[in-house]
Assembly symmetry: C2
Homo-oligomer: 236 residues x 2
């Protein structure tokens, strides 16, 4: 691959705004990213197409898509036929855990990222979790990430040999507006990203689900126009 | 399901000897087991058939098989076309990590088990890892299990609400011979179990790979005849 192993990194890439910025940060930090996306039976498969576009635009040479069937677990609006909540105010979303929570999702995603990192010889695993505008998911909290890093270093051959894995969370303490500004600085093309939990069949974002609301509020706060199309007029 | 949530348990069931005994122990401890097996592109798919037989014989009413494609990672004899080592002495197997190691496997399996437990409302996740006759896998060590339990309780809705998950490892400190004796006490039918890394097309165990050697040594030490067939005569 042309670089020492420790200059390779795994980047979990959903195709959303946060993971696109995370990918750009990994590259800005001098690492050769290997993007890892998940096809987990989500309703918004358009997200995976966004991940492919984002990876291609960033010049990623190795993009893997792991098919994992979370439907055997059920229990979430993103994989079951439960209505996605609409029109909630962004400020209320961090209260409680939303119905869109997928059980143990980041634990599963990081476990796959760890397997991938171990095989490639990468030491850094980037994940775009955020503890500020984070929709109330328990597996986005800093203490979860710290604990998973400990597991990573006990679970693997690499951990035994003393070469430590790092779970890299460059967005952890940023607001959505700060993430957007950082992305703009790094040249991220936000037209390629997808955030909506409930897009139209042609991929157009609904503008009303929690994820659209958080995204729109972030762009507003950053004073930047969101370049993607929305199905309904944006609220002021 | 007829029982309070906390009396349900997830049991990771490979179809091997250890997981069959683990399942019997979970039942002996008064829990209603939900068996979880993994189809991860392993060469020994006969293992999954063994898991189905073991679950059926134990009267398990809920047996889920999660298809996960570890082949996107490569790097292991159990998923790649690398020869399985044969004829190694059981006493030498705990030195180093064998080629049959699947990257981050128990981390991935436990992450799935956690998702399943969270949805069902189970609090106990049983896994038949063993720190004695364990073939040198880093993710069978007690410290790995302890750290994963902490991750489980940070990753989930349940952890947030204060209802704690437990990773149950009843075989952790037992020798293979002790595991076999415990299984016999609990009425486990070992003819249904499968341990071989490299079985013949009809499922008959090779008798020479690390897993067969450990199993045979355990039965010898327990003074019990292994009831399964082997392709080659057993060593004394």
């Amino acid at each position: 691959m042309g670089r020492p192993d420790h200059l390779h990194a795994i980047v979990l890439l959903s195709g959303g705004l946060d993971s696109a910025v995370t990918l750009a940060i990994a590259q800005a930090e001098g690492l050769e990213p290997h993007a890892l996306s998940f096809d987990y039976g989500q309703r918004h498969r358009v997200e995976l197409e966004a991940a492919r576009r984002v990876a291609a635009a960033a010049g990623v040479r190795d993009h893997r898509v792991a098919t994992i069937d979370l439907r055997i677990f059920g229990g979430s609006a993103l994989t079951d036929d439960i209505d996605v909540p609409k029109g909630r105010d962004a400020s209320s979303m961090t209260v409680g855990i939303p119905i869109t929570y997928v059980p143990a999702r980041n634990t599963i995603f990081l476990a796959y990222g760890l397997a991938c990192a171990e095989v490639i010889g990468a030491r850094d695993i980037y994940i775009g979790v955020n503890a500020i505008d984070y929709s109330g998911y328990p597996d986005c909290r800093p203490e979860f990430i710290e604990q998973f890093e400990k597991v990573a270093n006990l679970a693997t051959r690499a951990g035994v040999s003393g070469e430590m894995f790092r779970i890299r969370t460059p967005l952890l303490r940023l607001t959505k507006a700060e993430i957007i500004r950082r992305g703009v600085e790094l040249g991220v093309d936000f037209t390629l990203t997808h955030s909506c939990y409930d897009p139209a069949p042609d991929g157009v974002a609904c503008g009303a689900c929690d994820s659209c609301q958080l995204r729109l509020a972030g762009f507003r706060e950053a004073g930047i126009a969101d370049p993607i199309r929305y199905a309904r007029p944006r609220s002021a």
